[in-house]
């Protein structure tokens, strides 16, 4: 199909033709087109269907404020819904389809909704779907959800990837129109490190669509020259196709760059930039708004400025015969430009009196003018055919250019909760300059200044102010000469005399009647009307409609705009894809993971891994003949208890503590005493929070004079290190103590089981005696292994068996585990994972993360005697609070099902026999459960009120989620070797 509506001129490159498809039909456009301009060039005016009534809709704007012309971009089996055809830069092979219609755009069966419009007014959900109550979840909500929405998400995974970056500058200029370019020139020539962002793929803003001169040049030529100069400045970075969508603290701005509009693009499709700046000039321009009149949503009705854009910038004839309906001079400029391009302007209908527009009327002498008149009705269905005026005239036209004034784009000024103020002169909200986000200045049309020469002057003033604040002299540049027509307009929202529905928010199908009804029903707050009617809540966020809605509310309540108030804006300024927000990483790489030193070995041993924070830990090592993970875990437990097992415990936090005050420092941090710990000995330690609750547990090893190694749980490694640093730097800076994490430096393996000593003796160098008498339980030392490799040996046991933890610099970790594995064959060595580790610690009754849950005290865990009364330490005083020493507190005990075949569940709540399962009867809860191959039964640890007194008794473990109600026996938490003889052998 030829581009039948293409005319001469414009900023498109006719040497680069581009083919595209819309709704299955092939068309062509040119480089420099948007999808919308290319559709219009090909005579396509019907582009979409509305949200609720499925009314036919055409292209209404030429920028990101577009409410109507949303399409689905398609690439093979993927698609992106709700793409604004007015911002998509045309590319070869683009495929798009209309959305929210079936079976076709032209004949949409759901347009029948329009016939039921009287039933579907504002708030009809709340009024209609109230009875019967049970229908809401089962019938109404599913139906509404199915009917709601515009485009459809693709069922397949997003094939694109995204990126994220950080940029820094002295001055961020938001908007690349006249004001932005002028500010950029001033800042750039003075050497400021400047970033200039523009949402469009071309800089120039409104100047691209206007027909005026700057410095004797056509305005788009002035734009081209200015951009060329800025591009040559090394300290100025131009970022086209980039929209700032969020203002955050400390002058941080988030912007999204559309690197490609193509789905499944070669590189990243979109990118989020976090821009940190010292100063900001908001030069975001203004958005034209429309007027609500009967059937003003018909395809062919377009904003007057958009019509100028399509004519002047894109060289597209949007109509054969146009009527201009305006409340200000903007509509007249459109009439002038269309007329110059040979497009017939059948009428200018201005709501103002003749004397109010006579100045601009002088420039449009050939066009019929209807002063103090209004359009009350649009005729036509899929396209405008004619209009009826208030004076009774009916005029045949196929398009209407409408202008109801301009809304300064002040969204970014409001994101820190600042409220804009009403300016009657321009009939628009402007930013309250006394309350702008830190470092921000507003320039040009965003401030309500519309004459080009005043815009340039204001931009220069704002840039000079930035220069001054940065210690620079003001620029000596001359302001370019430009159009000085001041804005003249009259506040006007809607045609009251119209009998048809008059649309305010096109995308959400909100009419003037809906808004008036909401007010009549008692919704007086703008915020409430917005939510009741959904005004301004669609993907365009009411850029063209919100202010009109506020105006109609004010009229209905017979109040001023100031009295009525306004909504404010939140991020994002434009829709941002979730994929872009998630950043460059997806799938397994969505977040960074940490691998243990033995990871490659574990992979070779076919370990199954489990995420433990960021760590990937070996969970268990299945053998080929094992059908269930429980079989593997049972084998690993039994092998360790009977022979010897090895597991990687490098993930435990390890902190090197040195200094002459190291022991005294640890005495303050741990609730038990460390200063009495002899050299080459270890001690179990507990840290309390200030409120007396247990923060973490671990071991303290006294390795050398003034040198300790403390360990933390894997989960709390960072938290504990941070806590200790806080104590060192802030609480006791007078202490001579140095801390540094050595978690990553030392790979550490636990070697546990009755044969562990024999195995170790094959590894460590001969001059170390690790016999029980020389190296007893809780001993530690610096040793060497394998002919002089430095190592540290700790005789610690989490499993309850005779056990050691052997640490080496991580560079030897891989070789060491393989070496031990080889030597260990003689001793039936078995690698074990976190599951077996967990089983053995439950069998021993050791508290771990499930029990250190932020609610338990040392006393609750049976460790109350560890809180020393002989010294002060963090949390020790508050741990004696009445509530924390109450005998009715939950105390750690063991539980077993009375029937060993029954499986109890972690999280089950404990109740007495025959008592009802109510919160008042709740005695506690099970924290950890495992199957114990040593007990041949499931066993668990539980926190039970006055638990010690229940030992030996029977209670019930109830899990309502799993329909479990199991009789249990309460036991000591030490199921295995309660006297601890095995670990001391």
């Amino acid at each position: 199909m030829t581009q039948k509506n293409r005319i001469d001129g414009g900023l498109i490159d006719r040497n680069i033709p581009l083919n595209f498809t819309f709704d299955g039909k092939k068309y062509s456009g040119f480089h420099g087109d948007t999808l919308a301009s290319a559709l219009l060039a090909n005579g396509i005016n019907l582009v979409g269907r509305s949200f609720k009534y499925h009314r036919p809709r055409g292209i209404f704007t030429s920028d990101s404020s577009e409410p109507n012309a949303l399409v689905e971009l398609i690439n093979e089996d993927t698609k992106e819904p709700n793409s604004r055809s007015t911002t998509i830069q045309l590319f070869d092979g683009l495929t798009a389809q209309s959305q929210n219609c079936w079976p076709s755009l032209k004949y949409d069966i759901q347009s029948i909704n329009d016939c039921f419009a009287p039933l579907l007014t504002a708030g009809f959900y709340y009024k209609t779907f109230m009875w019967p109550k049970s229908f809401w979840e089962r019938v109404y909500e599913p139906l509404i959800r199915r009917a709601a929405g515009l485009g459809e998400l693709a069922p397949s995974t997003d094939p694109d990837h995204y990126d994220r970056g950080y940029r820094h500058c002295d001055l961020l200029i938001i908007g690349g129109g006249a004001a932005g370019l002028m500010a950029g020139l001033v800042a750039g020539r003075e050497g400021l490190n400047t970033i200039l962002v523009e949402e469009d793929f071309l800089f120039g803003g409104r100047l691209l669509g206007e027909n005026e001169e700057i410095d004797g040049l056509q305005c788009h030529d002035w734009v081209a020259n200015t951009v060329k100069e800025l591009e040559a400045m090394p300290h100025v970075r131009l970022m086209p196709k980039t929209a700032v969508f969020g203002v955050f603290d400390q002058k941080t701005y988030f912007a999204i760059e559309r690197l490609s509009d193509q789905i499944n693009s070669v590189g990243p499709r979109q990118m989020i930039w976090e821009i940190n700046t010292k100063h900001i000039i908001l030069a975001s321009g203004a958005t034209e708004r429309h007027i609500a009149f009967g059937n003003n949503d018909r395809p062919g009705v377009m904003l007057a400025s958009a019509m100028r854009d399509y004519t002047n910038r894109f060289a597209v004839r949007t109509a054969s015969r146009v009527a201009v309906f305006t409340s200000n001079d903007s509509g007249w400029l459109t009439a002038r430009d269309l007329n110059q391009k040979g497009i017939e302007v059948a009428a200018i209908i201005d709501i103002r009196k003749k004397e109010e527009h006579q100045e601009i009327a002088k420039k449009n002498t050939q066009i019929p003018i209807y002063s103090e008149d209004q359009i009350i009705k649009v005729h036509g269905h899929n396209r405008v055919k004619a209009i009826s005026l208030l004076n009774g005239a009916k005029i045949s036209v196929d398009s209407i250019a409408v202008s109801g004034g301009w809304n300064p784009s002040i969204h970014l000024t409001c994101q820190h909760r600042q409220r804009p103020i009403w300016n009657e002169v321009i009939s628009g909200f402007i930013a309250n300059e006394a309350e702008l986000p830190s470092g921000m200045k507003v320039a040009g049309a965003a401030k309500g200044i519309y004459a080009t020469n005043l815009v340039l002057q204001d931009a220069m003033n704002q840039a000079n102010a930035v220069l001054s604040e940065l210690g620079h002299a003001p620029t000596k540049m001359m302001i370019p000469s430009a159009n000085d027509d001041t804005y003249r307009g009259k506040t006007f929202w809607s045609v009251r005399e119209t009998k048809q529905r008059a649309w305010v928010d096109f995308q959400n199908d909100v009419t003037t009647k809906d808004i008036r009804l909401a007010v009549q029903e008692g919704f007086y707050s703008v915020e409430h009307v917005k939510r009741y009617t959904t005004l301004g809540m669609a993907t365009d966020q009411g850029k063209t409609s919100s202010v009109i809605g506020i105006g109609i509310i004010a009229e209905t309540m017979n109040k001023s705009i100031e009295e009525t108030g306004t909504t404010i804006f939140r991020a994002p300024y434009i829709p941002v894809a979730i994929g872009a927000l998630s950043g460059p990483h997806s799938g397994k790489n969505f977040r960074p993971t940490r691998e243990t030193p033995s990871h490659p070995f574990a992979v070779e041993q076919k370990a199954q891994f489990v995420e433990s924070g960021a760590w990937l830990r070996s969970q268990y090592f299945p053998h080929a003949n094992e059908l269930h993970w429980q079989e593997s875990v049972n084998r690993e437990v039994l092998a360790t208890r009977n022979n010897v097992g090895i597991t990687d415990v490098s993930t435990l936090g390890k902190i090197d503590v040195q200094g002459t005050d190291a022991a005294a420092f640890l005495d303050k941090v741990y609730c038990n005493t460390i200063t009495t710990l002899n050299m080459n000995r270890c001690r179990y330690g507990i840290m309390l929070r200030e409120d007396g609750i247990v923060m973490d547990d671990g071991t303290v090893a006294h390795l050398a004079k003034n040198h300790f190694i403390v360990t933390t749980t894997t989960a709390n490694a960072v938290q504990v290190y941070r806590h200790m640093e806080f104590c060192r730097q802030c609480l006791w800076p007078e202490m001579d103590v140095a801390l540094i994490s050595i978690t990553e430096q030392w790979a550490q393996y636990a070697i546990a089981g009755p044969k562990s000593r024999h195995l170790l003796e094959k590894i460590i160098d001969n001059d170390h005696d690790i016999s029980n008498s020389n190296f007893p339980y809780m001993a530690c030392d610096e040793i060497s292994i394998c002919n002089g490799i430095r190592a540290r040996l700790f005789r610690l046991s989490f499993s309850g068996e005779m056990a050691y933890e052997l640490a080496v610099p991580a560079r030897y970790s891989d070789a060491l585990i393989r070496h031990i594995h080889e030597i260990g064959k003689t001793f039936d060595l078995t690698p074990y994972g976190t599951e077996a580790l967990g089983v053995m610690r439950i069998e021993k009754g050791h508290a771990a993360g499930n029990e250190l849950n932020g609610q338990t005290t040392a006393g609750d865990l049976g460790l109350g005697k560890m809180v020393s009364k002989k010294k002060d330490s963090i949390g020790s005083i508050l741990s004696e609070r009445e509530g924390l020493v109450d005998p009715m507190r939950h105390i750690l005990v063991g539980v077993m099902p009375c029937d060993p075949q029954q499986k109890i569940s972690s999280g089950s709540h404990i109740f007495a026999s025959k008592s009802a399962c109510t919160p008042s009867n709740d005695l506690g809860y099970i924290t950890s459960v495992a199957y114990s191959p040593m007990s041949n039964s499931y066993i668990g640890l539980a926190m039970i009120k006055n638990g010690t007194n229940h030992i030996g008794g029977k209670l019930r473990a109830v899990n309502l989620l799993q329909n479990q109600d199991i009789d249990i026996e309460v036991t000591s938490p030490h199921f295995y070797d309660p006297k601890g003889e095995r670990l001391r052998e």
Partner: protein, 200 residues
């Protein structure tokens, strides 16, 4: 038994291997390789001994300990600031007892901890280095804000790193935690591929 002082002789049964051996990714405008230093130790000035440590360090290495955010080279490596009263000293010579060597020199004014195995070091070099790093690191790495001789702790895709700007054009060194090796290399590679395309 543990060798005394720095008299380290390699007669071990076990091979040492860092998690980042043989990293060498090349694009025309960028190379990502393993950086050269072999050992790292933290050195912490004892309470009120910072000036003494600085004097002793000057005597030993001929340079002062660097100020916050800075690094300096010495004859066999470099030293950079890490946190208040704490620096990392690097050595280009392999010696698993490097900490004992430093302890011997500065024992009465500092504490020393071996850190070599905790870190991987990645050199990013080439005209595209800043373009890549601005996708990874929040701080302003431009020459005016982060000139040669700068070194600081920061984050990279949720991982803690140190970044250094040695006295070499278009060159940066990232030190990341050993356990994060794969994730860090992946992150840097992906950022590079997003700009320069897939690796040749």
């Amino acid at each position: 038994m543990i060798p005394k002082g720095s008299g380290y002789v390699n007669k071990e049964k076990l091979n040492s291997a860092l998690s980042l051996d043989h990293l060498n990714l090349q694009w025309p405008a960028l190379s990502i390789t393993q950086s050269s230093f072999k050992e790292i130790c933290s050195i912490n000035a004892s309470l009120d001994k910072q000036l003494d440590l600085n004097e002793r360090f000057k005597e030993e290495y001929g340079i002062s300990l660097p100020a916050p955010g800075k690094m300096v080279n010495h004859s066999t490596g470099s030293v950079f600031w890490v946190s208040p009263s704490q620096w990392f000293v690097t050595s280009n010579e392999c010696n698993p007892y490097f900490d004992q060597l430093l302890t011997k020199k500065f024992n009465d004014v500092s504490t020393v901890t071996l850190q070599t195995d905790a870190w991987i070091s990645i050199k990013i070099e080439g005209p595209a280095s800043l373009d890549v790093l601005e996708r990874l690191i929040k701080i302003d790495l431009s020459e005016r804000n982060f000139p040669s001789g700068s070194a600081t702790r920061t984050g990279c895709s949720h991982m803690t790193i140190f970044i250094q700007k040695p006295h070499q054009e278009d060159c940066f060194i990232i030190l990341g935690a050993r356990s994060y090796t794969k994730s860090l290399v992946h992150t840097i590679t992906q950022a590079t591929e997003n700009i320069l395309g897939k690796k040749e």
